[in-house]
Each structure stands twice: as structure tokens, then as C-alpha cells.
């Protein structure tokens, strides 16, 4: 705390009239305020979707019995660990939730690099901002690539496939049929992870824009790196949403 007593005093005065008009009472610019309110709104969109997931899921019974005897069936909701157990290049090895764990770790890591970019922005360090934005973009693109593989594997399915209601065997999943369980499981998986993936894609595009503006010195000329903070808020939000999506789809 390098503040002098006078500045502390000034702060008290302005705190008193904080909501009296003429100042930004929350001490943030309108742009950041708008981002916060947008995120609040977006949180309600995701909440609605996750509640839809919960309602659909609890309309189905869970699998009863020993885990060893588990098979995919249209009669009950699948156990996520049995669905998401593949890892690229390790075909046939049962590694439940390992790949999605890696994905999640990459996304969280990209949030860390975003924090570093914001911090570098406070120091007005153009080179560091550019570097950390770059790493954030790489993290986002890697996450999206992993998701593409995960989707592809989910769509193509396993060699054994699953038995449909009419007795036939179906491999993989689409929006109408699903080898792993009731079609709704696939519908919700595609919709919610897709909707989140769309948000990540938007975030990557925004990050690239900011990366460019930082690299060419546009933000430096503007005198502040607030844009980095704004896209940072969005990026952290998208990460936070993933934590919930991950919890709902993969853990419980």
C-alpha cells in the first residue's frame, strides 16, 4: 500500500457521494459494465439449458446393478464414464474421462494466460500482452480441436455399438439415434457442448482481434488495455460455464 494519507482521505469523500451522480459508482467504465450485464444474461441462457438437461435426465432411470455388467441401453441414462473413455492414439484402452480432463485443464490454463495478459495490460507492457494473448488463443484453439475430436468419436461410436428399441445395432450417435442411451442424451450433449463451443469460438475470434490490436500497438496508442480486460471477462465466463457443463455431463 503505497498510498499517502491525503489520497486515502480523498477516497473517503468520493465514496460518500459515489451514487450521487456525476461519477461511475462501480468504478468501471460503461463498456465493462455492459460486458458484465451481458454475461449475467448469458448465464441465464446456460442455466436454462442446464435445467433442461436436469429435467430430461431425471425423466429417465439411472442404471441399477454392478458397474462391471453395464451395457449401453435405451432404457436408462448412460454412465458418462462409460461413454467418454477414449483418448486419441490409445485405441481400445479404457481411460474414463482422461481426455475431457485434459481438455478442461487446457481451457483453465488458457484462463491463466488471460489473467497474465490482463496483468501485463495494467503494466502497459505491450510485448507481454501480445505474448499472453497468443498463448490464450493457442489454448482456445487447442480446446476446440479436442472438442472436435471428442464429437467425432462420439458420432462414430464404438465397434460394439448399442441396441436400439427395435433390436438393431447402431454405432455412434446423431440427433435422432444414439448408441449410448436415450436420444435425448446425445441431443443435449450436442446442443449444450455445441452452444458452449460456439461461445469459445466467438471468444477465440475476439482474442485474435485483441491480439492483433495489441501487436500493432493500437491499444498502446489508446493509452490503456481495457479491451483486454473486457474480452478477459468473457473468456473467464466461458471457462466457468465449461466447469458447469463438465460437471453436469461428465461427472454426475
Amino acid at each position: 500500500m503505497a498510498t499517502t494519507t491525503t489520497s486515502v482521505h480523498q477516497e473517503e469523500v468520493s465514496d460518500k457521494n459515489l451514487w450521487g451522480g456525476g461519477v461511475s459508482p462501480l468504478k468501471v467504465s460503461y463498456g465493462k459494465l455492459m460486458m458484465w450485464f451481458f454475461l449475467l444474461s448469458d448465464a441465464f441462457t446456460f442455466s436454462a439449458l442446464l435445467i433442461a438437461y436436469g429435467m430430461s435426465r431425471y425423466a429417465y432411470p439411472a442404471f441399477q446393478g454392478a458397474v462391471d455388467e453395464y451395457v449401453f441401453s435405451q432404457a436408462y441414462w448412460p454412465i458418462p464414464e462409460k461413454v467418454f473413455e477414449a483418448v486419441p492414439f490409445l485405441h481400445g484402452i479404457d481411460l474414463p474421462l482422461v481426455f475431457v480432463g485434459i481438455m478442461t485443464f487446457i481451457l483453465i490454463l488458457s484462463s491463466v494466460t488471460m489473467v497474465l495478459a490482463v496483468e501485463a495490460g495494467h503494466r502497459m507492457d505491450r510485448k507481454a500482452v501480445t505474448k499472453w494473448m497468443m498463448w490464450t488463443i493457442i489454448g482456445g484453439v487447442t480446446f476446440l480441436s479436442c472438442q472436435a475430436w471428442e464429437w467425432s468419436h462420439f458420432i462414430h461410436g464404438t465397434e460394439e455399438g448399442g441396441r436400439m428399441l427395435d433390436g438393431s445395432i447402431f454405432h455412434g450417435a446423431n440427433l435422432v439415434m444414439n448408441q449410448y442411451g436415450p436420444p435425448l442424451f446425445a441431443d443435449l450433449f450436442f446442443f449444450i457442448t455445441g452452444f458452449h463451443g460456439f461461445h469459445v469460438t466467438t471468444g477465440v475470434v475476439l482474442n485474435i482481434l485483441i491480439f492483433y490490436q495489441s501487436a500493432v500497438g493500437k491499444l498502446e496508442r489508446r493509452g490503456h488495455y481495457e479491451m483486454v480486460e473486457k474480452v478477459g471477462l468473457y473468456w473467464h465466463f466461458v471457462d466457468l460455464v465449461w466447469v458447469f457443463v463438465f460437471t453436469f455431463f461428465y461427472l454426475i
Binding site: 441465464f44 433442461a52 440427433l175 436415450p182
Partner: protein, 629 residues
């Protein structure tokens, strides 16, 4: 470290305001009238589009009212407009009847009373009444209008396609809306409906975050939340409701798009249609109803609150009295805002909802009567012994209070789960929400137009035409909607094409005819308004600076405020907006920008303590003196 950062942000906030001050540019036709970022022009764009939609939505209701009042009447004369929707025998096509009802509801609820009301007055009044140069982001504001325009165009286009517009009711419940083979309107018409609504929600979102950020960040010096006019409070809370409820409809609508177009089963399960079994299993139409009504109920307050806010302002001004219970008004609006999110399932009492949950939602619903009643009593006590000036805006506001009472009372019936079983989906419901939501919001809209027209166009609307318009509309609305209560209690279901096939309903043919005639006359009376509006815009009497002798800041701007609103500095605010008829004051109103030091004769003891604080804004005060007189 942290302190250093805070200072940067603080400077940016004020810097942002200064940037606007330099924007006194004169644009060309396109930047001034079409792609304008000036909140005043955007408000007018919303108003024009809203009026256009109001007439169209009203016209649709007249067409189906003809069928209801005069069953099987020969409508061949409409063939040039409606073409194939009038069948060989000259009757209205029954599926088109459903489309008319659906589009009337959609247009009125979303395009007129949400966008037309809140879009117009939030945009127009927020910067003017809080003392800001413009919205926080003029560009986003412009985008918000153009997304609304896009939504309007898509919705309008859907009226002209061969299979007709959406026809599943404005609530578009699946499976009816999800299966194209269910009715013609569930084909392309429904797709366009959903596309239009997605654009509409985007528009609402961009508008809403702008309104909220503007109110929080751009209030002029001295304009604390406790000095905000009640209009601004209502727009602020409306924007919050929209911000939190529209995204849920957005999610619900997207899932419906997937069910319709991509074969998913979110809302569909085990359906036979035309002898064919659909493959969909597992979904639940109730899920849609929950998602829809989580928006749908707050939507009622999205259209209602701005009307109530406008009324507070108009009634206080024209009763020449401070609004009674300012804090109670704010408190009840906040109460309504919160409660609006926890009552949605009262629309679903007969959907198979758990009766225990039903009783919880009934309890929460009936609690809303408390803040609503507080507002009504405060309006009445503000009017009580006031020096009432019956301007057209004032008449519409008093009419609003009357409609709010008579429509609100039936809400207590319908909020009861047990009574709702009898009344659900009958004309009783239609009567209820047309009075309390439709007419109240419409009267609020009209009060707002009559009251702020002089500021918008620098001219006065004609009072006599205003009075005729008011009485025709006020009497007309009661004549249309009051008899519907009886029809509803008698068991008439809403959305039916014809009742003449059922003997017991024949007794009400006369009454339906009466309603239809009243509806046509009331609709016709709106032409008076349209004439008055457009005529006065060009030929009306020139408006004085402050025609209603009002306290709020917008009347301190020049007759034609430019982009930036005030030519000099923004006036500073020293008092609340309701200093009307203050004892011992020279005039019966003291505008918000008059400091207490200028009115020693009327100050209350505690107000004199604020002299010292006023001195802080000495330099701003000098600048607004030219407007004070």
C-alpha cells in the same frame, strides 16, 4: 496497486462523457435519420415502427372479431387483401383464424408493447432525464433498433407466405408448433416466427444492457438514485427483467428450432400424427412451457412497468403534487421485479403441475397484489385534492389507473389454482390480460406520447382531438373487454373459430356481436390519434420550453435538442423531481436543476444543510442558468 487502477477507471468514466460533448456534428440524411446513434432519433424510430405494428396488430384482431361477432359472415370483400384465406363460400379460413389470433398476440406483446413502449421511452427519456449526452453506447443502441427492424421484417414477411404465419398461439407450445404437419402455420410460418424472435431477443439484450449501464454510469452530478424520476426507475427495472428473462426464452426457442429442423426430441415424445408414429421419444412439452413462462410472466411486467412509470410522472405533474410515497413506489416496483420471476407456473395450473407446487405458485402470485395495490393507492392519493389539469396525457394516466384496478381484480381470481381450473383458457383470461396488461400498457404508451410529444417534435398535439381520442378509447376498451368476463364465466374457450355448433353458447351471440362492433369502433377511433400525431408533427402549435411546467431535466433542453442534448454543460441536479406546490415557493414547481440556495423561502429545515455540498458544482451551475428561466 489497487488504488492506482481505480483511479484510471474513474478517469475513463468521466472521459467517456467528455467525448460525447464533442459530438455536435451535423450528419447527412442517412446518419441523421436512418443509421442514427442519437438516442432521440432511435426512440422516434421505435415509436414509428411501434405505431405501424399497433395498427397492423389491431387490424388483425378486427378481422377475427368479425368472425366471432358474425359467425360465418360473408367476407368476400376482403378477398382482394386476404386472397385464398377467404374460402369459396366467402368465410374466413379456420386455420387462418388461428394465425390471426397468434400474430395479433405476438405483434401486440412483443413488437408494440415491448419494443414500441419501452424501446421508445427508455431510449428517449433515460439520457434526457438523468442528464446524459446520449446512451452509454450509441452504436449498440443503433444496432438494437436495427435488429428489431430485422425481426419486424421477418415477422411481417411471414404474414405473406402461402402457408400463412405461425398459428399455434402466441405462446407457440409444442408439439403443435414443433410439427409442420400439425397445422399449415407450423411450417415455414413458424420457422420465420422463431427467426424473428431470436433477432428480437438480441435487440432487447443490446437495448437492455445499454439502459442499465447508462442509468448506473451516466447520471449527472447530484442525480442520485433517490432523485431519479420514477420513469427512470421503471425503465431501469424493466431492463433488468428483460435482461434476465429473455435469455431463457432464447434457450427455449433454440431448442424448439432444433426439434423442428434437426430431428431432436427435447419437447417431443410418443406422438401419433395422421396415423403415423413419430420416432421422437423422451422429450417433454412441459419443459417448453416452463422455459417459455419464465420469460412469459416477467414479460407482463416488461410491458407494464414502463406504463406505470410514465403514469407516475404524468400524474404528479398534472396533479401539481409530489408523487405520494416515492419510496413506496420504488419499493413496490422492486418487489414486482423480484416477484415476477417466481410466479411463472401460475400459467400452468392445468398442465398437470403438482398441486402442491401449484399452491406455492398461487401464494407467490397473490403476493404481487400487495405492491400493485400500493402503487394504485399511491396514484389515488397523489390525485387526492390535487390541482388536477386534465391534459390528454393526464386523462390517459387516470384511465390507466382505472384499468389497472378493474383488470387487476380479476387477476386475484385467476391466481387461485382452484378457480383457474374453471376459468383457464376462457374469455375470462382474455378479458383479464387485455385490461390489465394490454390496455394499461397501451394507455401508458398513449400518455407518454401525448406528454412528451412537445419535446420530441417541438410542437403541441391538438387537445380536443386528444380528448375525443381518450374518451372513445376509454369507453371502447371497457365495452370490448368487460363483457368478455361474462362470456368467459359461461365457459367460452379462447382461440375457437366458432361457437355456433354448441347450443349453450348461442345465448351469447348478441354479446359477441356487441363486442365486435365496439372493437371496430374503438379501433376506428385510433385514426383520430394517427391524424393528430402526424398533423401536429408539422402543423401543431409551437411548443413552449416547458409546456406542462414540469420538474424533470428534459424540459431544460432547447426546443430541438441536438445530438448531445444540452448546448452547454449538463445541468446539475439538486433536488428530487417532485417539488410541485411546495409551501411558500414562488411557483408551483421547482425544477430539479434549481439549487436549494435559490429557494430559501420554501426550503425545509434539513434541505438548508445541503448548501455546502451544492458549492462543489459551482462551475456547472453557471452554465445552466440560461435554461432555468
Amino acid at each position: 496497486m489497487a488504488t492506482g487502477n481505480d483511479q484510471i477507471y474513474y478517469q475513463e468514466g468521466t472521459e467517456g462523457q467528455h467525448v460525447h460533448e464533442e459530438e455536435h456534428h451535423h450528419g447527412n440524411f442517412i446518419t441523421t435519420y436512418i443509421f442514427s446513434t442519437d438516442h432521440k432519433m432511435i426512440a422516434k424510430q421505435y415509436l414509428f415502427t411501434g405505431i405501424m405494428w399497433a395498427f397492423l396488430g389491431g387490424l388483425l384482431s378486427i378481422i377475427f372479431r368479425l368472425q366471432l361477432g358474425f359467425p360465418g359472415m360473408d367476407m368476400s370483400f376482403l378477398k382482394p387483401i386476404l386472397g385464398g384465406w377467404i374460402n369459396e363460400t366467402g368465410n374466413l379460413d379456420p386455420t387462418f383464424y388461428l394465425a390471426l389470433v397468434t400474430m395479433h398476440g405476438t405483434i401486440m406483446v412483443f413488437f408494440v408493447l415491448t419494443a414500441g413502449l419501452s424501446g421508445t421511452f427508455s431510449n428517449y427519456l433515460i439520457p434526457l432525464q438523468i442528464g446524459a449526452r446520449d446512451m452509454a453506447s450509441g452504436f449498440m443502441n443503433m444496432l438494437s433498433y436495427w435488429f428489431f427492424f430485422l425481426a419486424s421484417m421477418v415477422m411481417l414477411y411471414s404474414l405473406f407466405i402461402e402457408t400463412g404465419p405461425a398459428a399455434g398461439g402466441w405462446v407457440v407450445y409444442p408439439p403443435l408448433s414443433a410439427l409442420p404437419q400439425a397445422i399449415p402455420g407450423s411450417g415455414t410460418g413458424m420457422t420465420l416466427w422463431l427467426v424473428a424472435m431470436v433477432f428480437f431477443i438480441v435487440s432487447q439484450l443490446m437495448g437492455g444492457i445499454n439502459y442499465i449501464s447508462t442509468v448506473i454510469n451516466l447520471r449527472t452530478k447530484g442525480m442520485s438514485f433517490s432523485r431519479l424520476p420514477l420513469t427512470i426507475w421503471s425503465f431501469f427495472l424493466t431492463a433488468i427483467i428483460g435482461l434476465l428473462s429473455f435469455p431463457v426464452l432464447f434457450a427455449g426457442a433454440l431448442l424448439l428450432v432444433f426439434d423442428r429442423s434437426f430431428g431432436t426430441s427435447f419437447y417431443l415424445s410418443e406422438i401419433y400424427i395422421a396415423g403415423e408414429a413419430l420416432p421422437n421419444v423422451g422429450g417433454s412439452p412441459l419443459l417448453y412451457q416452463h422455459l417459455f413462462w419464465f420469460l412469459g410472466h416477467p414479460e407482463v411486467y416488461i410491458v407494464l412497468l414502463p406504463a406505470l412509470g410514465i403514469t407516475s410522472e404524468v400524474i404528479a405533474t398534472n396533479a401539481r403534487k409530489p408523487i405520494f410515497g416515492y419510496r413506496a413506489m420504488v419499493g413496490s416496483m422492486i418487489g414486482i421485479t423480484i416477484l415476477s420471476f417466481v410466479v411463472w407456473a401460475h400459467h400452468m395450473f392445468v398442465s398437470g403441475l403438482n398441486p402442491f407446487l401449484g399452491s406455492i405458485f398461487m401464494f407467490l402470485t397473490l403476493i404481487i397484489a400487495v405492491p400493485s395495490a400500493v402503487k394504485v393507492f399511491n396514484y389515488l392519493t397523489t390525485l387526492w385534492k390535487g390541482n388536477l389539469i386534465f391534459t390528454p396525457a393526464m386523462l390517459f394516466s387516470i384511465g390507466l389507473v382505472s384499468l389497472f384496478i378493474s383488470g387487476g381484480l380479476t387477476g386475484i381470481f385467476l391466481g387461485n389454482a382452484a378457480i383457474d381450473i374453471q376459468l383457464h383458457d376462457t374469455y375470462f383470461v382474455v378479458a383479464h390480460f387485455h385490461l390489465v396488461m394490454g390496455s394499461v400498457s397501451f394507455f401508458g404508451l398513449m400518455a407518454g406520447v401525448y406528454h412528451w410529444f412537445p419535446k420530441m417534435y417541438g410542437r403541441m398535439m391538438d387537445n380536443t382531438l386528444g380528448y375525443i381520442h381518450f374518451w372513445a378509447t376509454f369507453v371502447g376498451v371497457y365495452l370490448v373487454f368487460f363483457p368478455m368476463h361474462y362470456i368467459g364465466i359461461a365457459g367460452f374457450p379462447r382461440r375457437y373459430y366458432s361457437f355456433t355448433a354448441f347450443d349453450p353458447f348461442n345465448a351469447f351471440v348478441d354479446m359477441n356481436m356487441f363486442i365486435s362492433v365496439a372493437a371496430i369502433l374503438t379501433f376506428g377511433a385510433q385514426a383520430i390519434f394517427a391524424f393528430n400525431f402526424f398533423y401536429s408533427m408539422f402543423k401543431g402549435k409551437k411548443a413552449p420550453a416547458n409546456p406542462w411546467r414540469s420538474n424533470t431535466l428534459e424540459w431544460s433542453t432547447p426546443r430541438f435538442p441536438e445530438h448531445g442534448n444540452w448546448p452547454g454543460a449538463i445541468p446539475m441536479v439538486y433536488r428530487w423531481p417532485y417539488d410541485y406546490s411546495k409551501p411558500d415557493a414562488k411557483e408551483d414547481f421547482i425544477p430539479q436543476y434549481v439549487p436549494f440556495s435559490a429557494t430559501p423561502e420554501s426550503n425545509l429545515p434539513h434541505e438548508e444543510d445541503t448548501y455546502g455540498i451544492e458549492m462543489e458544482g459551482e462551475e456547472t451551475k453557471k452554465m445552466d442558468e440560461p435554461h432555468a428561466k
